[in-house]
Symmetry: C2
Subunit: 338 residues, 2 copies
């Protein structure tokens, strides 16, 4: 049987160097790499790589599960996916994308033996996928959180994010601040943890200010944003500022406000939270955003999972990073009321 040592001898390099090339874990000079590839080809080493994975019960493949990727992937989700894939590659792992994760896909994951572990996105307060992973002992890390804070997770710190958004608007004199979130088809106990946590932080902040809350929930689309503008206008006419936790509705909210004869930020200030700088720049006027730490968190999630797999982790990681305020042109002084 051909071993990695045979390849190393044939290519006249160390075994470590062969490993760097095969696992893609370290930069190797092009000429050296070409020699190693030639040796692998000549010795027909290909199948032995898979055999080695079998012998070690490890495939160095991770799965990323997201329920809605095909439907309407938003810019922030994509940053998470790409940074997780990049983080995995840097440590010599490959990331498989599972754009759906119904029961079929979970069975494939659990029964197939293909992957060493899984990353879950769009985590719900109660999430049956997590229950199945725990039962099957497949290692995992969450991008998001269930109600159980003991599981390994990385997440946006929605409480700190909402608090900072409220504070920013308050510094411009706003008292009547509404929250616009995203409608999901899930029953309340299954809704994404991010919506639950952001709403709780918002309600807490409004209570501290002695203001009654105004929460509107719409689809994550331009049509949803226009609906939000109308609903705020009819049901909460005192509103002078909006915090959006629904990036897909951002452009529609601005267009909807304008259609009602409101100027942004003259009549209505807007902060779009948990989104990208680029989205803010696309809209007229440029939106003030709270940029999601997606590039950092995707990598940290991959690290959290790989640390588990490689046994270099004492306690499950619990990482929270708030969004970063990026001022645009959509926040201004609160209009004075007669």
């Amino acid at each position: 049987m051909v071993t990695m040592r045979d390849v190393a001898q044939r290519a006249n390099v160390s075994i470590a160097t062969v490993s760097f090339v095969i696992n893609g874990t370290k930069r190797v000079a092009p000429a050296t790499r070409a020699r190693i590839e030639a040796a692998i080809e000549e010795l027909d080493y290909r199948r032995n790589v898979v055999a080695r994975a079998l012998a070690s019960s490890r495939t160095r493949i991770l799965a990323l599960l997201h329920p809605d990727l095909e439907i309407r992937p938003n810019a922030t989700v994509i940053q998470f996916v790409m940074s997780a894939a990049h983080g995995a590659r840097e440590r010599g792992y490959d990331l498989v994308l599972w754009p759906v994760n119904d029961d079929e896909q979970m069975s494939h994951l659990l029964a197939g033996g293909l992957v060493d572990g899984a990353l879950l996105m769009e985590v719900q307060i109660r999430d049956s996928r997590v229950d199945r992973l725990i039962a099957s002992r497949v290692p995992f890390a969450l991008i998001g959180r269930t109600e159980d804070d003991d599981l390994p997770f990385v997440d946006i710190d929605f409480t700190a994010t909402i608090d900072q958004a409220v504070e920013h608007l308050r510094s411009y004199g706003h008292e009547h601040i509404a929250l616009v979130t995203q409608r999901t088809k899930a029953p309340p106990e299954n809704e994404p943890g991010r919506i639950r946590r952001a709403e709780a932080a918002y309600l807490h902040a409004m209570a501290a200010l002695g203001r009654s809350p105004a929460v509107v929930t719409v689809e994550g689309t331009s049509a949803g944003g226009r609906e939000a503008a109308r609903t705020l206008h009819e049901r909460f006419p005192d509103t002078t500022a909006v915090i959006l936790l629904n990036e897909g509705a951002s452009a529609g909210l601005v267009k909807g406000a304008r259609a009602l004869g409101l100027t942004v930020p003259g009549d209505l200030s807007i902060i779009s939270a948990s989104t990208t700088r680029e989205l803010g720049e696309m809209i007229e006027p440029s939106l003030t955003v709270m940029a999601a730490p997606a590039p950092e968190l995707g990598r940290l999630a991959a690290d959290a999972l790989i640390d588990q797999l490689e046994g270099v982790q004492d306690v499950p990681p619990h990482i929270l990073i708030p969004c970063t305020l990026v001022p645009g042109e959509s926040v201004g002084p609160a209009p004075s009321r007669p």
Copy 2:
């Protein structure tokens, strides 16, 4: 050694049903699936799945290579990636995402024996990745085209797309139509095929109309779009309509035109080609777009590769689909010149 037959007997189902669950290829009733998973767990069948892949020299894993995914993935690229992943899953294959494809990643692909085949995106006119895949005999399909039209590919029909955009603008009386494309760091012979082909179609259309062409190349960002507006204004002041083949610059072009005192579409009509309907809706005024057939082409690319792997293909597929015109509010009658 535990076989799939053992699992089938223990779970009291057919071998085919076990295969459906393991490969995720067909819907199986939840109760049946649970029985099969329990049998797999009890018999410790996991490693045998990998063993089977080894025995057949097949892993049922496909790689998707894209050079720029982490930098600034645009909406259309994401639709390609997601639809390819979905298409692969429907035929029982998993799609690994390779967000970089420098030489390190190519070596990992060629030497690792991990994947059965590869899909390439952002294909260049001359693409060294393609040369290496051909040399190593790893099956592949292109999303895009090199200069060699005999390779298996799916691609947007840029010629038909540009022709339709020109025709649409002509029907509004436009004579002076500019093209804005995306700047890449590649030398001309390595630039993405889509830019080369769209430009050729545009030059051909302008020659047919007896008009001198106006081509501006900028970064795929809001800043790039504003630069394009200024450059058109200074160098091609007769321009009354723009075809964009640079979706990242769309919003910036509108903002930049406005900053120069031009109204859209009063003074300048805009069509953004090869992008998504959603991007058009986000911008004010809503852009007329040529929507990319990304959801279809991603799946067709996965099919093209899998057909090769499964030997159900006589000739390499050559699939071209044009974009679809989605009228918005950014195209109007050409302004009359004194």
